[in-house]
């Protein structure tokens, strides 16, 4: 199952990126107290997914290189690395997090489908639980983005 291994690898990588990105954005915008604290909560969700993925990675391997994994390799997305400043910067950083979180979510969807196919109950359960939690991450990101956008785009200095 080389392609499943590739996707497990993709998951492992992107959940870790998401966790790191959430921490970077939260700490970078710490003056927005809610962003700081909720990003911490959301990062813990992703860190827990990474932890629970460890035995799965051991089971299927984690193939990231080779001719047949070219497409997923190109899918890899990294976090913002460095945060932007100010209200518009916050908006853009929330958008980056959103993009990263959707990659995580669709990868869980794909892996969940495969888990059904290989009748791997543990992986299926993890995929369903994680996809739900990624949905919560996305829901907060949308909520916060909607609240921040008018002030940032119309009034911010």
């Amino acid at each position: 199952m080389p392609h499943l291994a590739t996707y497990v690898g993709l998951l492992h990588h992107s959940e870790r990126s998401l966790a790191e990105a959430l921490r970077t954005v939260g700490e970078g915008h710490a003056a927005e107290a809610d962003v700081y604290h909720v990003c911490d909560t959301l990062a813990k969700m992703s860190e827990e997914h990474v932890r629970r993925l460890e035995p799965i990675v051991r089971r299927y391997g984690e193939q990231r290189h080779g001719d047949d994994v070219e497409e997923p390799e190109r899918l890899y997305a990294d976090g913002p690395g460095e945060i932007r400043k100010g209200p518009v910067g916050l908006l853009r950083d929330l958008q980056d997090l959103y993009v990263l979180a959707t990659l995580v979510q669709t990868t869980w969807t794909a892996v969940g489908q495969a888990a059904q196919g290989v009748r791997d109950r543990e992986l299926l359960e993890l995929a369903q639980a994680s996809e739900t939690e990624t949905g919560r991450q996305l829901s907060w990101l949308t909520t916060r983005l909607k609240a921040a956008a008018p002030q940032a785009l119309i009034v911010a200095p």
């Binding site: 809610d34 829901s139 907060w140 008018p150 911010a156």
Partner: protein, 844 residues
Amino acid sequence: MDRIADIWGPRTPHARGTVWPARVDRHLQEGVAEEDVERWVRSACVLCSNGCGCEIAVRDGRMVGVRGVATDVVNHGRLGPKGLYGSWDWANSPDRLTRPLVRENGRLVETDWDTAMARIAEVSRRLLDEKGPLSHGFYTTGQLFLEEYYTLAVIGKAGLGTPHMDGNTRLCTATSAAAFKESFGTDGQPGSYTDIEHCDAIFLFGHNMPETQTVLWARVLDRTRADDPPKVVCVDPRRTKVAEEAERTGGVHLAPRVGTNMALMNGLTRELFANGRVDTAWVERHTLGVDDLRATVEPYTPEETARICGVDAEDVRRAARIFGESERVLSTVLQGFYQSHQATAAAVAVHNLHLLRGMIGRPGAGVLQMNGQPTAQNTRECGADGDLPGFRNWSNPAHVRELAELWNVDEMTIPHWAPPTHAMQIFRYAEQGSIGLLWISATNPAVSMPESARVRRILGGEQCFVVVQDLFLTETARLADVVLPAAGWGEKSGCFTNVNRTVHLSEKAVEPPGEARSDLDIFLMYADAMDFRDRDGAPLIKWRTPEEAFDAWRECSRGRPCDYSGLSYDKLRGPTGIPWPCTDEHPEGVDRLYGDGVFNTDPELCETYGHDLLTGGTVTPTEYRAKGPAGRAFLKGAPYVPPHEEASEEYPLLFTTGRTVYHFHTRTKTGRSRNLNDAAPDVWVELSVPDARRLGIAEGDRVRVESPRGAMEARARVGQVMEGAVFAPFHYGHWDLDEVVPEDFSRQANELTMTIWDPVSKQPYFKTAACRVVRVADGDGPAPAPTTTASRPVDPSVPPTRGGPGASTVAEVVDGFVPSYPNDPALPSGDTGHIAEVSAPGRS
């Protein structure tokens, strides 16, 4: 009778299911006898959220006293110490604001109204031209009247079109409202105070009722001191009077570690499931989400709960058993939950307990999510806080359209693209300068908001023009660019609604001093200056008097859960306040909501589509509809997560703050009452015996309390707080009756608290900070803390707290008079509607 020493007054115990006897409390200014009073003017007390019916004594054009109204459904004639000593005294204080002030060359100087209002209108117009309505923010209070909130809401939402409106009610009542919306679909208190007469157990969650709502506690005592007392369960890190009553009645005192309420609630909920105490049939018919809730609470065994919360596992079992075995439980919730970690989730968990047992909507089986401020309920209803008027849903286009039609404005004018901006975010925008005009009415954020040093910087900075309207030159007003002198309680007319949905009319008793004007008149003056118009070019605000404003609000509320359509000023001049909904169908109002087990969760009716309790992420309309709630209540759970700041090596203790019995809000009124001020004249800090011993601190020693954000100094009370926790009363600012307070702000508990809020209700947390305590100097006597309450000392030699000269009051129990209310479940059916014929004491 000295009601400083005897806070709750004489007992009138009575059996379960019978009417709470009347007792009329009265206090007149020293030297004024009852026969000297020229007029008694109807009102209700605004010094806590209980909303006691009262009358104001007037003599020579001044307020000189107050008495309770025996026929009023809320208090049956009683008043508490704050109401007796603090409700009218401030009005005669020589330091009232009597003329507008404007800042000239850095100093506030007196001016006339035209100049002051012109300056506001000029800044307002310039900002509207340059940046649009999002440049305006309004931060209001829990002290205005319904008519004023509604007028302000229309100006803000339909005149300017800004979503940046909130009140200091965000600091007190936001979690109550949020929890109702999450569980039942809309705001609205389901229970009634009459539940006290019928319950067989009463749970107080983070609610120090003896100090925050003294008259309500008298009502509880009259049941617990009768022959068939309900069991009391107390959740509080301090050994309060509630905790003592819990012990007396065979209940439990649970003192969870600060910040761990959610773990405790999950533990109690799990016990109901584990012991088969769930009314499965009722839950099936009337709720959604039971399976998810069961799974969420499963890890919280009594032992695990005990480990997290620092309580005894057996006590968790006992408390849950009392809840599970009682037929009628009344739960009350206040700031111990609302201002603490995971606030909304913990408050919702109280609803869950009741829903699982099917204990809602019938006598004795109720939930009272309390308010801290008296008229907070009106900011929630009228939309002067972060809501739309009439409990309308900002994400339901039909609701926004209703408002647009009512106000005759374009729907697009009414901001509804996201939830209205909450107070903490408004201050953040003001800090960044994107809100350029911040209008603060009748509240004192420089003292009441968390991390006070930051709030002072925001208000004192150049980036934002600050307008303050108030009675006195408060700590906040001193930082303003324009200060407007306002009329207070007794100096203007209007209605307000208490926690319990009971509406009272408060009539003008005296003229305000100097050029002070009612808040309604000030808002109307601004509307005139700005010339706000509706779609047809007519003035947007179509009313000039309080009664006209009330009638406009009545139309706005029609058909919504908070329906006032059956109320009028005339009707409210009757013998008692009346609880909404009051309609043609229910002309005397409704005592208790959800008696039919049908909740306001229908997608077309509900006020919100809900949130994730852990993150505050919103549920989309589509997701909500897919649940098909159909009038069923939501059972919503959340796991416990550790608080945002935990004790560490550097800051080993947990800091918690709260209101105490002799002061209200930032002491603007109560600090000007000699008797209340003398009873607790200065701030103090409470430590447990083991912590005090470890730190070498004795009663009365001067200590410095430090958190990562700031410090305060106070004298230490070695008292009743749990080990590891430090308590300080909030809202001692740098103002004082005797003006002896140094200007270093070191009395303020909020120097230490964090800028952090609940993700759902956006209520800031005042009870989760880490701190350390350092001894500064020897004391020269005991701490200035009362001995009569949870602040009492361990040291028995501290002299008891008593009132001074002029503290004498009257409390009359009237033999043979049984109050009678149309909705009182204690009355045999049929025996209703005769209160107008009763000749009752305390009513002229």
